[in-house]
Symmetry: C2
Subunit: 218 residues, 2 copies
């Protein structure tokens, strides 16, 4: 047996990396083994020999991308929470495009991987909200889980449909520019709200619990 770390420059790793690149660029359904093999400069049979099957290759790519992403995220998260991560992302967005595009395609595909990914994002949002409520920077929402899911939906929506939104904004096709353009309005919305009145909210609350009148604040 050879030592594991120096294995990462072999042909097998090169195949995996080209597969990740093509998957991230064109999606999983539209990327064939032959396309990957041609791009990597090897024969189609070699992919099967190294990864067993197309599903095995896909699994290896998932593991790689999720591995480096969660490792990066957790290492960057430890000191200063989410802000350091976002700051680092804003500093060099290009360093994360490959993994982000891959996750985007996985999300759009809608398999079990994307479900667990979303689940993790919701848990992360919920913990951020709870700690924010504790130190008083976040409003004490009645349905914390619901808010967490809503923010997670906004996040994955921006990731998944960033390229489409870019056209609507007139910026370049990258979703990074969309994120930067959306940041300001999002913060404004999250600070001051959208409506100027609470008429809609009270109307909604009255409509949803019509039988017994309950006080507005818990």
């Amino acid at each position: 047996m050879r030592s594991a770390p120096q294995d990462d420059l072999t042909t097998k790793a090169r195949i995996r990396d080209t597969a990740i690149r093509l998957y991230a660029r064109d999606g999983f359904a539209k990327t064939s083994l032959r396309a990957i093999a041609t791009e990597a400069g090897v024969s189609p049979g070699l992919l099967i020999h190294h990864f067993g099957s197309a599903a095995g290759l896909r699994e290896a790519c998932d593991e790689q991308v999720l591995g480096v992403t969660t490792e990066r995220a957790s290492s960057k998260m430890r000191p200063g929470g989410l802000k350091h991560l976002m700051a680092e992302f804003n500093r060099n967005p290009e360093g994360y495009t490959l993994e982000m595009d891959y996750l985007r395609q996985a999300l759009l595909e809608g398999t079990a991987t994307s479900a667990s990914l979303f689940q993790h994002l919701v848990e992360l949002s919920e913990s951020v909200i709870r700690s924010g409520i504790e130190d008083g920077t976040v409003r004490p929402f009645t349905d914390i889980r619901g808010v967490a899911v809503l923010t997670a939906l906004t996040s994955v929506g921006s990731l998944a449909f960033g390229p489409i939104a870019a056209k609507a904004l007139g910026v370049e096709g990258d979703w990074q520019s969309v994120m930067q353009r959306i940041g300001g309005p999002g913060l404004e919305l999250y600070t001051h709200g959208f409506y100027t009145t609470d008429a809609f909210l009270t109307a909604y609350r009255e409509a949803t619990s019509p039988d017994h009148d309950e006080p507005q604040e818990a």
Copy 2:
């Protein structure tokens, strides 16, 4: 030539409707002509005979779904704006699931259709925001287009990833239940905001325009 309206009960229309159903349920890539033909009880060649090709069938389905959806939306929108539409949707969500699921798949597929769909949604959001600002119910945002794109992203995100979000919420798999669960938190967020302080917003504004200090309010 026969009159157009009575054509809608022929085998051709039945094929189109089953295609829409299967496309909405399983997505476009995973739905073959043979599956549609079997489900409709006809031979595969008949689909080609009626629609010319698989792309032609897809086109007919797009036209049908977009047609009835925009017609419904505009007819329901005329009297009372968005609220009547949402109220009607809340009254019977099942009546819209087929078209919504179809649009969801089209969105996830990421073709030109979904781009124009998103574009329309952004325009709609922007007009709603502008009229809201005019009558004073919506905050006068500095970047209206950005807020419109953000809300549109939240909408399509909820539509596209509703089934996944349902699992995270523990409700049934339908995205309608997610919508109903998200409505309350969303309204709360849009009324009172997310943060209790404007510290993050001011910090962001100072960080994005570092060279010259500008007043906080325009």
